[in-house]
């Protein structure tokens, strides 16, 4: 598959696109929204995307993200249905191993009872892992399929949802809302504001406290989302650059993919762990 990607990339470079254009094209999303004339449809080109403004959707990203999410819940639902107290089979065992891994991570970090945090952590870990894994798919495979299916050679189509900041920030902002929700639920509005204003230097130094605590709080969702986005975006960009190597791309692809195999689960794990840590901080009194 990597070879076909190479050939296509090579062709693309020689005949129709410069290298810059090739990469540029691969970084565009399949965007659905209202164009300048007020019609809903797929955007062609970057200007059209810019005109659509906020109310537009990256159809490719949402499709992959929701599709992979469905795979996650269906697989785990099947495992949950089949789960018995007997001896588990191979597939069942694997799913239960993932489940126990997440459960242990949650139990080690979050002390207290909360029905949401563990399933939240499991969803984040598996879903992000699946989305990250799309990075291993040869960069030109799905765009090429999309071109054949749609008949539009210029169609933009990306496959790694976590290389879209909308996706990663969407998740990290959801986590942020949960942080605010649990902070207020556990400590009350007053307790939450007191934590922002009276720590770490005491009530007399209130402005300084706010200056430290508010950015700390706001940095959580931003860093959480952008860390994942940045790692995966960089990974994809390197795959795109390697695809321009021509005949020598195969070993380079292999080496980068092997390295990336570490990044993929690691980033999923980091996202999950930080979510647990943030929520356990939100649920604890200081």
């Amino acid at each position: 598959m990597a070879e076909s990607a190479g050939e296509m990339a090579h062709e693309a470079v020689e005949h129709t696109q410069t290298q810059g254009e090739y990469i540029q094209h691969h970084l565009q999303f399949l965007t659905f929204g209202k164009d300048a004339e007020g019609h809903w449809g797929i955007a062609h080109g970057e200007e059209a995307v810019a005109e659509m403004g906020y109310w537009s959707f990256h159809v490719d990203m949402l499709g992959w993200s929701i599709g992979l999410g469905l795979i996650f819940i269906l697989v785990f639902r099947a495992a949950a249905k089949n789960a018995t107290s007997g001896v588990p089979g191979g597939f069942q065992n694997f799913i239960e191993w993932v489940f126990e891994f997440v459960e242990t991570s949650v139990k080690d970090t979050f002390h207290g009872t909360n029905a949401l945090i563990a399933p939240l952590a499991l969803t984040i870990f598996c879903w992000v892992l699946l989305m990250n894994t799309m990075d291993i798919v040869p960069v030109d495979l799905f765009p090429w399929i999309a071109q054949q299916v749609s008949g539009d050679p210029e169609i933009a189509f990306r496959v790694v949802p976590t290389t879209d900041p909308n996706v990663t920030l969407g998740m990290s902002l959801s986590v942020f809302f949960l942080i605010i929700f649990y902070s207020i639920k556990i400590k009350g509005v007053g307790g939450f504001l007191k934590e922002l204003a009276f720590q770490p230097f005491g009530p007399k130094m209130l402005p300084f406290n706010l200056l430290i605590e508010v950015p700390t709080l706001l940095a959580k969702p931003v860093s959480l989302g952008l860390r994942l986005y940045g790692n995966l975006y960089a990974g994809e960009l390197v795959f795109l650059l390697i695809a321009l190597f021509g005949a020598f791309q195969l070993p380079a692809h292999f080496i980068w993919a092997a390295f990336h195999l570490l990044v993929i689960p690691l980033q999923a794990f980091i996202f999950m762990m930080l979510t647990i840590v943030y929520l356990s901080q939100a649920c604890e009194h200081h």
Partner: protein
Amino acid sequence: MNINATMLGQMIAFAFFVWFCMKYVWPPLTAALAERQKRIADGLEAAEKAGKDLEKTQEMVAEQLKEAKTQAASIIDQANKRATQIVEEAKNQGREEGQRMITGAQAEIEQEINRAKEQLRAQVASIAIAGAEKILEATIDEAAHAKITEKLAESL
């Protein structure tokens, strides 16, 4: 970086998946694993108990075996004693029987001798008379000489 409504869609999808996981995935898996853990714990406990039971039974068996052995030994002992006793008794009985037989036989012999003597006495008297008759060749007054022959017979 163009932020648009994709983020909203992702948030909704995220919320749905988390809700689904919380409602339909996590509880059955937790329940099944907890049950399995309990079963394993129960199994281990049962195994331990069975081991203890086995040990106890083995001890009991050893004890019973020991008891049986002592019992067997005492039975053999008793049997041996009884055997020697029986042999002894048989010997005594035999001896007594022999003694009795010997005494019986002696008494009979005595009787026989007496009877023979009696007969002999009777015959000797008549033989003596016949002899005397033959010798004297005379008629002897039997009545007159009866006393003499009787005296002779008695002296025999």
